[in-house]
Amino acid sequence: MDKKNKLGPGFDVPGKEIRYRDAFNNTLREELEYDKNVFIVGEDISGGFDKETKEPLDAWGGPFAATKGLVQDFGVNRIMDAPISEAGFVGAAIGAALTGLRPVVDLMYFDFTTIAFDQLLSNAAKSRYMFGGQTKVPLTLFARSGGGTGHAAQHSSAFYSILAHIPGLKVVVPSDAYSVKGLLSAAIRDDDPVFVVNDKKVINMTSFVPDENYQIELGKGRYLKRGEDITLVGMSYSSVVCLEASEKLEKLGISAEVVDLLSVSPLDHEIIIESVKKTNRIVIVDEDNPIASIASEVAAIVSDKAFDYLDAPVKRVTAPHTPVPYSKGLEDVYVPDSNDVVSTVKSILGN
C-alpha cells in the first residue's frame, strides 16, 4: 500500500516526502501547540493506563496511530481517552465548543458517525442558526472511511455525502499528505464544525509536504493535472484513481484534466465549471454510494451552470448501491478504479 502518491504540488520550499498519516499526526501536534484551547478526545487515542500509576501508556496512540506520541507531550487533559459512547463524547465536545474550547474528535471508523449522528445534526450543525448567531461551534471531527481493506460492511463506509447534505456542517476529503496537513489545520482553526474524512487507502501513501505551517482554504478544489478533452472530478481516494486514469488515458491520446475537490461542503463550484467550460465533458468519480451523493451534486451543478458547454452526457463512476462486501475479490470490484474511469471516458468520447 505504501506506494508513492504523486498528488503533491512539489513546492519550492523546504519539506519532505511523508505519509498522509504522519502529516496528520504532525498537524495535530502543531495545532495543539498553536492554541491551548485545542484538545483531542476519542477512544484509545492514547490507549491504556498503567494500573498502579494511572499514567497513560500511549499503547495505541489512536486508531491508525493518528495521535501517537501526543499524550506524552500534552497530557491527559488534552488527549482524552473516552469510553465507547460516541453520542456522549461528541455531545460533550459540542458543549465544550459552545463554551470556549476547540475540541477535535477522533471517531475512529467513519461508520461510527451514525451513533453520534443526532448530536452532529441536531446540535453541532444547528446551534448557531437556531440560536440566532449567538454562538459558534469550533469543532473538528475525523474518522477513517472507505473500502478496500477487508473491514467489511460496518467498518468501510464512505457516506460523506450524508454529512455534506447537512446545513451547518463542513466536510473535507483530503487526498494526500499535502492536502491533509493544510485542510486539517484549517479545519481546527475554523469556527464551524468540520468533518475531516480520511480514506484508509490514502493514509499510508506519501507525498511532498512543506515543513512550514499552512492552511488550505475550506471549499477550494485544485487541479491535479491540466488537460483538454475531459474533466475528471475526484475526492479523497477517487482523486488518486482519477490521476491514474488520466495517465492511462494519455496513452490512448486522451488529455484529461483532473480536479480534486478537497472539500465537499463547501464545494468549489467555480473550478468544476471552469474546467467543464474548457473540456466540455465530465466524469465524476466517487467511492460513496451513488444515490443523492456528491457525485450527483456535481452532475446537477454542471447540468445547470455549465449546460451550454456540455458536449456529452454527464457521467458518474461510483461505488454500487450496496453495502461494502468483505471478500477481497468483491471489494475490489466495489471500489471504483481507473479502469472503470477509462471505460466510462471512452464511452462518452465515442471510442
Binding site: P83, S85, G91, A92, R128, M130, G132
Partner: protein, 331 residues
Amino acid sequence: MINEEKLIWMYQTMYRIRLFEESMLEQTFKGNSMGVTHPSDGQEAVPTGICAHLTDKDWIGSTHRGHGHCIAKGLETDKMMAEIMGKFTGNCKGKGGSMHIADFSKGMLGANAIVGASIPLAVGAALTAKYQGKEKESIGVAFFGDGASSQGVLHESMNLASIWKLPVIFACENNQYAEATPSWYAVSVEDIADRAASYNIPGVVVDGMDVFEVYEAAGEAVKRAREGKGPTLLELKTYRYHGHFHADQTEKYRKIEEEKAWRKRDCILSFEKKVTDQKLISKTKLLSIRKEIEEEIGKAVDFGLSSPLPPEETLYDDVYVNYPNDLRGLR
C-alpha cells in the same frame, strides 16, 4: 439560613415563571406564537432552587419545556416572549422559538427540542470549566425530564462525567409524565435517583414542589461540583399543571384528583405560607413583588407583540461563521 435577598429572588423567580407561562399560553391560544409551546408552570421550584446557586458563568442545558430554566438563569422575559412570538427582537432573532431559547451571555446553552440531547452539552460545559481550571466559578447543570431518563445519551453522559470527575449536576425533573406516558410505565425503576449508583455518584430524591428542599439539595451538589468532587444526580419530583403542550388535554390521561393533590403542594403557595408564617417576608412585600412581576410580564407581552418579524434575508444568516457557497439554494 437563606438571606432575604435570595428569598425575594426566589419568590420573584417562581412567580415570574408562573406568570410568564400563563401569559405565554394565552398568547399561544390567541395565535401569537407559532408551533407548539410547552408550559412549565407547577415546576417552578426546580429551576429556581437550583439556579439560586448559579451565576452567569455557570452553564445550564435545557429542554423543550425550558422557559422556567431560562427565567431562573436570568434571561429577560421580554426577549423570551418576543422569541416565542417569532420576533426579531427575541433572544434568537426569531429563528429558535419556544423550544430553542438561548442566551450564552447568561450561561444558558439553549433549550433543546430533542429529548435528552442537551444533557451531554452541559457535560461539555463542565469539561470546559475543568479544562480551564475554573470549576470553582463555573459548573454545568443538565435539566431533563423523567422521559429523557430513558435515552441512552444520559447513561453515556453520567458515565463520562463520573470517570472524568466533571463539575456537573444531572437534574431530572420527574413530573410524572412524558407526554401522556406515565413514568411508572416507561421507567423501570422506582426512583430515577437510584440510578446514580450505576455511576458511583450521589443520587438524591428531592421534593421538587418545595423550593427550600430543592435549594438545599442543589446546594450540596453545587458545592461538590465546585470542589472538584464530580457529578451528582438529583431527581426532583414535581408536576406540570398544564398539558404536555398548549393544546394537550390532561384529562385524557390523568385524574383531576391527582392534579389537585399536587396543586395543594404548590411551590408558590407553600413558599408564601412559610415566609409569612416565619415572618421572613411580609405579605405586603410579597404583594408588591407580585405586582412588579405582573407589570414586567405585561410589558414583555407588549414588547413581543409590538416587535417586528425578522427581515426575510435573515433566513440565510448565521448558518456558518464563514461559508463561501450561496446558501439560498436553488431558485
